[in-house]
């Protein structure tokens, strides 16, 4: 019997890719909702990881004519004790029905796994971040010099000895400069030889000596200098400081707003830098560095001193993130409360310590949902930052009360940065 074996393993896989994309396109709105929802429950760093999402099946279902209810007959295996005519109470049936309903529910919710790229695309698509990425952001570069070969002129301190000696050796060999040993040997011969040869040897030695003198050991043409070129070195790592007021006046809603903003900033930085660190600093009237979970979820009580957070940030920058090696981004979220006596300290810290080393400093004033931004009278922190900004400090600041505002605000902050206030770094 004729038989063929075909090795299909080399054929391109993912034949279903296109169908999958069609499905995603069709379910886009739903999947986007699910992505947003699932990104809420995630840590900031995991936001880009892809993973399972579940979407409601409505609109994605494939209806068929099917029946339900009515009298049912079934034949089952595994009878143990029933005899004909037994009536089984329906409690068991209820349980089965309940399970059936549960299954029905899980059928209504459709679970599947998104790849990392799909996830980010959906996440960003909603946010139109690709557009944003086209804009010129802060230069993520630092000045430096680098070696760039050799040159024949330069400062004595840059002489490359090895290269110079090597060239000199080559020249001496090429021009047949006599070696000192050869001359010494000849002179020894002169001393020991008879009269007849002596004059001839003496002449020979003189010629050698003359040649020896004529051809220098090191000639100015041999000298090479190390050459340096100034370059701009991209700094491939960034650190993102999340500062947040966690005093009692910050509600969950406000924290959620802040988290969303941090998430966006993280996604954004992640696209530009190879390595992004996040530092969480929470403060009341004292500031401390905490992990993400504590940052968003733990409660703390106390007054409000923004300066404490700025001091903490400055300390951390000084000890761990040299501004030359790191791009420093900071985003502060607060409901705007600050003690009035703190204002001067905050202003000085910002203008003298923080802003000079930061690429970007954003202040996000979060408010309770519902109230429109216009009603909010300016908070103490807002008025302070506003004053600093009017004095020329490169600060970005916005008020947010609703989730939907987060992206426009983010967008706005970064757009403004392109044009007049380019003085951050």
């Amino acid at each position: 019997m004729a038989m063929h074996i075909v090795d299909r393993r080399l054929n391109a896989g993912s034949k279903s890719l296109e169908n999958r994309q069609r499905f995603l396109r069709r379910a886009k709105a739903l999947v986007q909702g699910a992505v947003k929802k699932s990104s809420q429950d995630r840590d900031i760093k995991d936001v880009l990881e892809g993973g399972e999402v579940s979407v409601p099946l409505d609109g994605m279902n494939e209806p068929r004519f099917r029946r339900e209810g009515g009298t049912r007959d079934m034949v089952l295996p595994g009878n143990k004790k029933f005899v004909e005519g037994d009536i089984l109470p329906r409690s068991g049936e209820d349980r089965r029905k309940a399970r059936g309903a549960g299954e029905g529910e899980s059928e209504d919710v459709f679970r599947f796994i998104l790849s990392r790229d799909e996830f980010v695309d959906l996440f960003l698509d909603d946010l139109e971040l690709p557009d944003l990425a086209k804009r010129k952001l802060a230069e993520a570069e630092s000045d430096g010099i680098r070696r760039a070969g050799y040159t024949t002129s330069g400062s004595p301190s840059n002489i490359s000895v090895s290269r110079t000696v090597r060239l000199a050796l080559a020249r001496r060999v090429a021009l047949r400069r006599p070696r000192p040993e050869a001359i010494a040997e000849l002179e020894a011969n002169i001393a020991s030889c008879d009269e007849a040869d002596r004059t001839k040897l003496m002449a020979e030695a003189d010629a050698l000596k003359a040649r020896f003198r004529r051809i220098p050991f090191i000639d100015p043409v041999d000298i090479r200098y190390r050459r340096f070129e100034p370059t701009r070195k991209p700094v491939a790592q960034a650190v993102m400081f999340c500062l947040m007021d966690v005093s009692g006046s910050m509600s969950e809603h406000m924290k959620d707003l802040a988290k969303r903003f941090y998430m966006l900033l993280y996604v954004f930085l992640k696209r530009r830098y190879r390595h992004v660190e996040i530092v969480f600093i929470r403060h009341t009237d004292r500031a401390e560095e905490v992990d993400e979970d504590t940052f968003f979820h733990a409660q703390a009580s106390g007054g409000t001193l923004v300066s404490s957070a700025l001091v903490a940030m400055h300390e951390i920058v000084r000890s761990r993130f040299r501004p030359a090696d790191w791009n420093i981004y900071a985003a502060q979220a607060s409901d705007g409360d600050n003690s009035y006596s703190d204002a001067d300290v905050v202003g000085r810290l910002l203008t003298e310590m923080i802003l000079p080393v930061s690429q970007f400093f954003a202040y996000l004033e979060v408010g309770e949902g519902g109230g429109s931004g216009f009603d909010m009278s300016d908070s103490s922190l807002w008025s302070l930052y506003h004053r600093l900004r009017t004095d020329g400090a490169p600060l970005s600041m916005r008020k947010v009360t609703e989730r939907t505002q987060i992206f426009p605000v983010f967008h706005d902050l970064f757009r403004r940065r392109g044009s007049p206030q380019k003085a951050a770094s």
């Binding site: 296109e18 209810g69 049912r72």
Partner: protein, 514 residues
């Protein structure tokens, strides 16, 4: 038989020569001992990812593009990645040559099992069972699917993806009712299908004249004169093949939309026999692989260790959980099919008195394979079970019959158990569970109001009080109305013609606008 021949392989590793040797060894046993009659085999080695792909296009190597396959893929993938689902060891396609996909991860023993199972068991069943002979065209299917794929792609280019998707969505919703259940005038010839569609397209292109577009469409001729009988005859009513009816009679479909309906209908028809022969098909294949592997072991061509590996997976495959087991999800077609095949083998070779009484035609006839081959060729699940499920097997599996009448508040009645009084009832009920006539709701097009508002009228004959699930009905009717492009109504009537429920759907504008 003693160990006379060399081992086919040692250990778990295999290469293409191993597969060839295994195939040849199986072929020998299949031909001489089992007398199987098969299509030529084509064995394709694929990766797990490709297997996952194949899962989502109904196992076919090529298929048109549609989001629903992507949805299925996303779902399967999620399950697979989470480790909730193992992949099948093999997929086999009813085509000539018969294509079996083997996963590269399988061990040599598994490949042997799979080759015996798919390339011989299923292959024989596909080639010889009357349903497959009647309804499928093994030679033409791959070419036809290729045609379908290109055709759908072309339609998308010409008419836009959205339009095509809408039509296909609607057609898919009606797929289960796009099947001819009774053999018609001629056997399906998919090659001719493909040629016909191609010719029609050529003709359209050659006869294309843009001026026709400008010719005003005059009023349709009056149809008042048609009486009901004549009208129904003209439209071929009543018609249970809804897709066929729409393809032929829907007033405002574009030719390409009709062709899409036709494609979906043909594909549904192609899979129709598979749904009706699950137990038999898997039973046959399992029986065949069991016989072949056992013989290979007896011949010494498979080592004891490898045979043990085989027995282990075989046992897993034919495992039947009992009804109160959390793993229970109905009868396992492999288990039931294999048990019945073995039971028939026993009845034919060493029957008891009971067997002689129940199966006078086959009991003790002695030729197991001839009997089985005959059964494999001429039955489907429903008739197979209703004729060959023996009392002994019912006892062995301890089958019982539950009757659940929602009106009876006391509870569910145990109607029959595996005893003298119950055998026939259990057998009849189990057979019914496999009868497509009972499984699928019986829905027909009964009339069209040609003179009036052109409403299409459907009728669901309710059996045992089971109405259609309302949410789904509305959605399917919506699709149906979109294709029909006028109102569609559906009544659900019981046996005494009492209307239990009525639905009406009006078309959405988009398809009509085409």
């Amino acid at each position: 038989m003693t160990a006379t021949t060399e081992r086919l392989f040692e250990g778990a590793d295999w290469n293409f020569e191993t597969l060839q040797r295994v195939h040849d060894a199986c072929a020998e046993i299949a031909a001489t001992e089992l007398g199987l009659n098969i299509y030529p085999n084509q064995i394709e080695v694929i990766t797990a990812e490709q297997m996952l792909d194949a899962y989502c296009s109904a196992g076919m190597p090529l298929y048109y593009k549609h989001w629903s396959f992507g949805k299925q893929f996303a779902h399967q993938e999620a399950f697979y990645r989470k480790g909730l689902m193992g992949l099948a060891y093999e997929i086999v396609i009813n085509s000539s040559p018969c294509i079996s996909y083997l996963m590269e991860e399988n061990t040599a023993t598994m490949q042997t099992l799979v080759i015996a199972h798919a390339a011989f068991g299923h292959n024989h069943f596909f080639k010889n069972n009357y349903l497959f002979k009647q309804w499928t065209d093994a030679e033409g299917i791959l070419d036809y699917l290729e045609f379908a794929k290109t055709y759908v792609a072309q339609c998308e280019e010409r008419h836009g993806r959205e339009m095509v998707e809408q039509t296909l969505d609607a057609a898919h919703a009606l797929m289960s009712h796009g099947i001819d259940r009774y053999p018609g005038k001629k056997k399906l010839d998919l090659r001719a299908e493909e040629k016909r569609a191609g010719e029609r397209r050529l003709h359209e292109e050659s006869a294309f004249n843009d001026l026709w577009r400008t010719v005003p469409t005059g009023p349709v001729k009056s149809v008042d004169s048609l009486n009901v009988e004549r009208r129904r005859k003209l439209l071929g009513l009543p018609q249970e093949n809804l897709l066929y009816f729409l393809e032929k009679s829907a007033p405002r479909l574009q030719p390409w939309q009709r062709e899409l309906l036709r494609i979906v209908r043909h594909v549904a028809q192609y899979f129709y026999p598979q749904g009706q022969t699950k137990v038999m098909n898997e039973g046959t294949a399992t029986y065949v692989h069991y016989r072949i592997l056992t013989r290979l072991h007896e011949q010494g061509r498979i080592s004891d260790g490898n045979f043990l590996e085989f027995v282990r997976s075989h046992t897993n495959v034919v495992f039947q959980p009992e009804f109160d087991d959390p793993r229970f999800s109905g009868f396992n077609p492999y288990a039931l099919g294999f048990a019945m095949m073995q039971d028939i083998e026993r009845i034919v070779s060493s029957p008891t008195d009971e067997d002689r009484e129940w199966f006078p035609e086959i009991a003790g006839t002695g030729d197991v394979m001839a009997t089985l081959r005959n059964i494999w060729a001429n039955y489907r699940d429903e008739s197979f079970i209703s004729q060959f499920l023996s009392p002994r097997l019912m006892r062995q599996m301890r089958m019982f019959h539950l009757h659940d009448n929602p009106d009876e508040s006391a509870g569910i009645r145990v109607d029959a158990i595996h005893n003298e009084r119950g055998y026939r009832r259990i057998r009849r009920e189990l057979a019914r569970q496999y009868d497509v006539g009972f499984v699928e709701p019986n829905i027909e097009v009964v009339d069209v109001d040609l003179a009036g508002n052109r409403r299409l009228m459907l009728r669901h004959a309710v059996v045992k009080g089971a109405l259609l699930a309302p949410g789904d009905v509305e959605r399917v009717l919506q699709h149906l109305a979109d294709l029909w492009s006028y109102d569609v109504s559906l009544v659900e009537v019981d046996a005494s013609d009492v209307v239990l429920k009525e639905y009406i759907a009006s078309p959405r504008v988009m398809v009509a606008a085409a």
